[in-house]
Amino acid sequence: MNVRLLYFARLREAFGIQAEEVALPEEIRDVGALSRWLQGRGGAWRAELAPGRAYRVAVDQEMAGASTRLHEGAEVAVFPPVTGG
C-alpha cells in the first residue's frame, strides 16, 4: 500500500524530512502499525515515536487514533500536539 507521509514542526526537524511517499509492507494496515514500522527506522524515529511520547497522527486531514485504517493513497501526517491560537 502506497501512502504519503507528512511531518510537521518539531518532528519535521527531528526527522530531517517534510514529506515522503512510502510503499508499506502488506501487514501495515492501521496507524498503530505504521507508527511501529516508522520506529523501526531507529534513531530520531524510535526516540520521537516511542510509546509515551506525545505526538498526533492525522489520516486524510482528520485526527486519527492507533486503530484508524490506512488506505491506498492516504495522506498521513505525524506531528506534535498543536500549539496555535
Binding site: 510537521f8 486531514q61 498543536v82 500549539t83 496555535g84 491560537g85
Partner: protein, 153 residues
Amino acid sequence: MSVRVQGEDFDAGAEIARLRRGNAKIGAIAAFVGVVRDVNDGDPVAGMTLEHYPGMTERAIEAIVAQARLRWRILDALVIHRVGKLAPADQIVLVVVAATHRGEAFAACEFLMDYLKTRAPFWKKERTPGGSRWVDARASDDEAAARWEPVGR
C-alpha cells in the same frame, strides 16, 4: 461563517463591523484577539514563527465552527488565524461570534478559542536569547477544551 488562515495582519474593528452589517437580529458580539507576548515561561521572546498544515488547518477550523453552531444559536462567526513570522505585540488570532443574546456569543467564542488551541494544526516556534524552541502544548489548554465535553449544557 468564515475561516481564514493568512500571513497578513487583520483589522479586528473592520471585521467586527463587517460581521454586524446586514443582520438586524444580531444583539451581541463577542470577540477575542490573541497577541504575541514578549515573555513566555519566564524567557524573553523576540518573536515566533507559526507553522501549520495547509488544507487540514482550514478543515479543522471549519469543523470546530460547525460544532459551535450545533451547540449554540449563533448568527455568524469568523475565525482568522495568522501563520509565518510574528513579533511581540503582533496579533495572532481573531475569533468573532454574533448571536441574538450575549450568553451564547460568549460561550461560542470561548469554545472556539479553546478548540483552536487544541484541535487546529498550528505550531509555534519562539525565538529567545537562548535560541529557537518549539512551544510545548499546555495541559491548561487541554483542560480548557475538556470543559466543553461531553456535549450538553
